[in-house]
């Protein structure tokens, strides 16, 4: 069996769905944060797949692969800031569960 673009897109869609479901359902902020990273990586996977399978003049479309590097870098920056905020919250509240973080009410 040869792997086609659709296989990659299916896996990427699955990753995105798992990530999104995790963000909606999990209660631990660290887990939610990991699920968010999963969503970004789903996008990265399909970007590379699109780039590899849609050849331009026999070469992959490198625009997408450059975009992937930017996404990885920005995600790292986001994690650095995000974890710092979560740690600060843990110090203030001694908890990282979303139910306990509700002093601001709708």
């Amino acid at each position: 069996m040869t792997l086609t673009l659709n296989h990659y897109l299916f896996v990427s869609g699955l990753l995105f769905a798992i990530g999104f479901a995790g963000v909606m359902m999990r209660r631990n902020i660290i887990t939610i944060f990991m699920c968010l990273e999963l969503m970004l990586n789903a996008a990265n996977l399909s970007l590379v797949a699109f780039s590899r399978f849609n050849l331009v003049n026999g070469l992959p479309n490198y625009n997408a692969q450059v975009l992937v590097f930017f996404i990885i870098t920005v995600a790292a920056a986001e994690v650095a800031v995000g974890l710092a905020i979560i740690v600060a919250l843990y110090r203030a509240r001694q908890t990282i569960h979303v139910e306990d973080i509700s002093s601001l009410k709708f």
């Binding site: 902020i29 944060f33 968010l36 699109f50 920056a77 905020i85 203030a92």
Partner: protein, 494 residues
């Protein structure tokens, strides 16, 4: 003539310089730093009128466009940042109480320099015509906002707001990136003009394209606070330091809308999907209008009230976006409405937040009851707030009224009568909650009689913003003409 990119470069250098001064300076008082930044940014607003345009640039190969729209939104970003810095100076005593530091002034310099980086991000967003630059500049704005929202590390509401903004901001980024992925996969391009060209020359499957556009809309919907992606807004607005709330509600929204207009342009030009996209936008606009205005009615906390009001104004702006039609002239009239509305929104929102900061510094709270009898304590502040509230509600002879007029005119021109109907009803709801603040200021007895003192800078800013609200409300023609004389978004050539 100077190159438009040099504006962003100066802003970035200023930001890095301020961080270095903050790190190495022995002095404890960083107010001079903020004043210096205000001077530089004001000079940049002036310089922005002398930049060379993007004549001769092949936009389908560019990342960065310096068209009139971009320059217009760059000025909005700069002016917003200047007023936010004035607010930050006024807010510094509150901040100092809630950040851990050896000395009272420690760490305040960072609070003055981070908005500068956000401003650079907003300016890049205004010019971005490639998904790569759109993504990176959007993240520059969002990540610096994460830090700013959670800045008061000793106040757990601020941290809580920071975590909520972090999770939902990252979620919206996920949607945006996945949407970009699909658009790239179908067109093989990341540049918006090249995408437009590919859409018209190649046969592209409709369903996956709509899927990609919808995901992108979800991502941008979070940024502009459109219903149903507004869930983060009330909590984050209430918990964040007030200058940051003001920055979020003006800067972030303005940049969100310019990106939205740019991203939508290629897809609205495509006859196979444009009706679907416009219907989707109209539904978003209607829901946002209703939710924002109705949820604002029972609010007692002023910051939370402004959060819902900010959602409501996103609704009016979305009505204008949903009224865009396929022809370039209609794109023009909706674009003019968006541009004018954002200017009016900037003036009145920043003014009300500035007054709110001054008042809550004295009253130690930002509920509507803290504004009781403000007219007796400080007629000047009360008049400023009155002007802002009248304009937000949309009373004639204020900038906000003319903005709403342009939006509804664009909607009528496009035949969106249902949206106009919802808009008129929600304006009536708006009267109630905005005028409640006015009633508290003018007809209630003050809780305490202490006089409110104002720094010269804040007094000058409040005075200028108040005057501009009335000037733009009574003589709207100059700014409308300047918007109309240039194409709002350069449409691609086919």
């Amino acid at each position: 003539m100077i190159s438009p990119l040099s504006l962003e470069i100066v802003v970035l250098i200023l930001g890095i310089f301020m961080l270095l001064v903050e790190s190495f300076s022995k002095s404890d008082d960083k107010q001079g730093l903020a004043r210096f930044a205000i001077v530089i940014l004001s000079a940049l607003v002036g310089f922005s009128f002398f930049t060379t345009g993007n004549a001769g640039v092949d936009l389908s190969r560019a990342f960065y466009s310096a068209d009139a729209t971009a320059l217009f939104f760059k000025r909005i970003a700069l002016v917003t940042t200047i007023v936010v810095l004035v607010m930050a100076l006024e807010y510094r005593t509150v901040l100092a109480r809630f950040i851990p530091g050896v000395t009272p002034g420690a760490g305040l310099g960072e609070f003055y320099s981070l908005p500068i980086f956000t401003c650079a991000g907003l300016m890049f967003m205004a010019s971005a015509v490639d998904f790569l630059l759109i993504f990176v500049s959007l993240e520059l704005v969002t990540v610096s906002f994460y830090v700013l929202v959670a800045y008061m590390r000793r106040q757990s509401t601020s941290l809580e707001a920071g975590v909520k903004y972090l999770i939902l901001g990252a979620l919206s980024t996920g949607f945006l990136v996945y949407g970009i992925t699909w658009i790239f996969g179908l067109t093989g391009q990341t540049n918006l003009y090249a995408i437009s060209e590919a859409l018209h020359t190649r046969d592209i499957a409709r369903a996956p394209l709509l899927f990609g556009v919808m995901l992108t809309l979800v991502g941008l919907g979070f940024k502009i606070a459109a219903v149903p992606f507004q869930i983060w807004v009330p909590d984050v607005y209430q918990g964040a330091p007030t200058p940051v709330t003001a920055f979020l509600s003006v800067g972030s929204k303005a940049a969100g809308f310019v990106v939205l207009l740019r991203v939508l342009e290629p897809f609205l030009g495509l006859s196979t999907i444009n009706t679907n996209v416009l219907t989707l936008l109209a539904i978003l606009a209607g829901a946002t209008l209703l939710y924002g205005n109705l949820a604002a009615l029972p609010q007692d906390n002023l910051k939370r009230l402004f959060a819902y009001s900010s959602i409501a104004h996103a609704g009016y702006l979305l009505v204008a976006v949903a009224s865009v039609q396929n022809s370039p002239t209609s794109f023009g009239s909706a674009g003019v409405a968006v541009g004018y509305y954002l200017v009016a929104y900037l003036l009145m929102t920043l003014l009300s937040f500035l007054v709110m900061i001054v008042v809550s510094n004295h009253s130690r709270g930002d509920d509507i009851t803290h504004f009781n009898g403000l007219a007796k304590r400080s007629p000047f502040l009360a008049f400023g707030m009155l002007a802002a509230m009248l304009s937000l509600a949309g009373i004639p002879f204020t900038a906000g009224f003319y903005g709403k007029l342009l939006v509804f005119a664009a909607a009528i021109q496009a035949g969106k009568f249902v949206l106009v109907g919802i808009g008129v009803i929600t304006v009536a709801a708006g009267f109630y909650y905005y005028l409640r603040v006015v009633a508290a200021m003018y007809w209630q007895e003050p809780n305490d009689d202490t006089k409110i003192t104002l720094s010269f800078l804040s007094k000058f800013t409040i005075g200028t913003l108040t005057a501009l609200i009335f000037i733009f409300g009574i003589f709207p023609q100059p700014i409308v003409q300047s918007l109309r004389s240039v194409p709002m978004i350069q449409t691609a050539q086919h």
